[in-house]
């Protein structure tokens, strides 16, 4: 069975602080894909990143970085120098093999205060 756990329900930071959103996943499949999506207050789901199970390279995109560690089944997301516009709910998701289902975590609501 597949499962994604985002233990942090809500995080509040002050602008310019760094913040890390945790994601732990469970799967017995050897081939799987991990994703992060952002859901701002307007409601849409914005794709941020995809990682496959064979690629443990960490990735940096501007102020965003992702740390994928198979040994701990984690795919954490760090925002450096957070901004008010980063305020949103962030979902980590897992899919296996055929892409037919995304297993979403429960989401982490990030509040960035000025």
């Amino acid at each position: 069975a597949q499962k994604v756990t985002q233990a942090q329900t809500e995080i509040s930071v002050v602008e310019k602080e760094d913040v890390t959103l945790d994601c732990v996943y469970e799967t017995r499949d050897t081939t799987y894909y991990l994703f992060w999506y952002k859901q701002p207050p307007s409601g849409e789901l914005v794709f941020l990143i995809r990682r496959n199970s064979f690629d443990e390279q960490n990735e940096i995109s501007g102020r965003y970085s992702w740390n994928f560690q198979k040994s701990t089944s984690s795919f954490n997301f760090t925002i450096t120098a957070s901004q008010v516009v980063d305020s949103a709910v962030y979902f980590c998701a897992l899919s296996v093999n055929n892409f037919n289902k995304f297993y979403f975590g429960s989401g982490t609501k990030l509040n960035v205060k000025p």
């Binding site: 894909y33 999506y37 789901l45 794709f47 979902f91 037919n100 975590g105």
Partner: protein, 113 residues
């Protein structure tokens, strides 16, 4: 770049009415997915289609049905609406062969009164 288009953006219906949500996938995407997101919840998978055939089914109520048409657009039909059906309904598309990530539309917010 073209995105997934959903219509309508907002829909208000009364209990026991029917509703039809439409989804137009990204061009050349052959797979469509429907998700339901209740207030404060994560998106829940309802159903998916690949090349106009149902490819997987999740927690979709029997009162709901969906199909994908020859032009790859999809419609989610919801009958005998209940208050609990009030939610944000997302459509997403991807390219099966390209293993692309799911690209979500902006969602349809359904309110049942």
């Amino acid at each position: 770049a073209a995105g997934v288009i959903q219509s309508p953006r907002h829909l208000i219906k009364e209990k026991r009415e029917t509703a039809t949500l439409k989804c137009y996938p990204i061009p050349r995407h052959d797979t469509v997915y429907w998700y339901q997101q209740g207030p404060g919840q994560d998106p829940q998978f309802l159903i998916s289609f690949y090349e106009k055939m149902q490819s997987d089914k999740g927690s979709i109520p029997d009162r709901f049905s969906a199909q994908q048409f020859s032009d790859y657009h999809s419609e989610l039909n919801m009958s005998s609406l209940e208050l609990g059906d009030s939610a944000l309904y997302f459509c997403a598309s991807s390219s099966w062969t390209g293993r692309s990530p799911l690209h979500f539309g902006n969602g349809t917010r359904l309110t049942v009164t």
